[in-house]
Symmetry: C2
Subunit: 215 residues, 2 copies
């Protein structure tokens, strides 16, 4: 039975990868950059999106992935950004987004003149990393409250990303976190990772994120 | 193809539930309570376990679930507790524990005179909630840094648990969190949920957790 399960899973992954590849090419042709944000629940992705809307002089859209509720989408829409909510199911729905859903969401959005589409993936450091959603940039958002060891314990998300945003640095004075150790753990898993430290509350370091997006 | 996938998944879930039920009954006969701790990465489960070892006058064991590394198991073992590490796979391994693995781990442990076996499930608020590991008590650990909305966004973990431990309350002065709102969101999802607020750093509220375990 195990063998059969793996067979099915492989088929799904292949299909997902093919759609992701096509989507990435189609968006590149239209000069649209797709950025996939992955993190644990509560890392501050939505707050970062709200502040990005205010600070970045580019046209952005956000695709919100949640198992249920439209809470995050409402926050983003209130910040004046076009938002599309993907809910993966009422009770214990899918724990990740797939490229076909992202593609279907984009097809229903008005993306004329859009520069960047963000995907706020489902709050989960494990499963989203296994599914290519067609992004040009994969980013992990990691809050300083989560501890130094997370890159070692959830390596796939860090290995498959080009950028790590270390968030909530305003809390550093109240934590025992060793930031240098966290950064060295990230670099051990992915030596090429670009790392930005920021607080969306005090806005410290936020300009580094905005500069990254301008590129 | 979708239909086939669901069929396989259902079979696995049925098998998992049957093993979980048997395990729960076997442990009850031996007066051993199995407690399954579920949370996001970095909620403080391991620190709570370390402090519990020092404060609770009962014989406890811990089964550590991680995708990889034995970092948490080493911390628990250093606290003088018998620990069994389940690693679910080298790269992007399984995102939850299943009852058969917990059963196999217990079979290899010395559980004579044990009162409580804790399962530190994989750091993930989504998938572990879908798999009964055979526990008598399911508990969610939620750090105050994660925000008020998490019970609404990840309802299954809250619906399937009897206890919610709200951790890291020493950080409340530095956060915008509305604790009453968080508690009311938990109660909306699961009106019968027992709720304990604590800090494993300052030990505030920790005696409530110890009292819960003594029952």
């Amino acid at each position: 039975m195990d063998k059969r399960e793996i067979k099915v899973m492989k088929k799904i992954l292949n299909m997902n990868d093919n759609i992701a590849k096509e989507l990435r090419q189609e968006l590149a042709k239209e000069n649209i950059c797709l950025i996939n944000l992955m993190s644990s629940p509560g890392s501050g992705k939505t707050t970062i999106m709200e502040k990005t809307a205010a600070e970045l002089e580019k046209n952005i859209c956000v695709i919100e992935g949640d198992i249920q509720t439209t809470l995050d989408a409402e926050r983003i829409a209130n910040a004046g950004i076009q938002t599309y909510q993907i809910n993966t199911g009422p009770f214990g729905g899918d724990c990740h987004l797939e490229s076909s859903w992202v593609k279907a969401a984009i097809a229903e959005m008005n993306i004329t003149d859009t520069d960047i589409i963000f995907v706020e993936n489902i709050g989960n450091l494990v499963c989203p990393a296994e599914f290519d959603v067609g992004a040009h940039v994969n980013a992990v958002v990691l809050s300083v409250t989560e501890g130094e060891d997370k890159p070692l314990k959830y390596p796939l998300a860090f290995r498959n990303s080009q950028l790590c945003v270390i968030s909530k640095i305003d809390l550093l004075p109240y934590l025992d976190l060793d930031l240098d150790k966290l950064i060295s753990n990230i670099k051990n898993i992915n030596p090429k990772m670009e790392i930005i430290t920021l607080s969306a509350k005090t806005m410290k370091g936020f300009s580094d994120w905005i500069d990254f997006l301008k590129k």
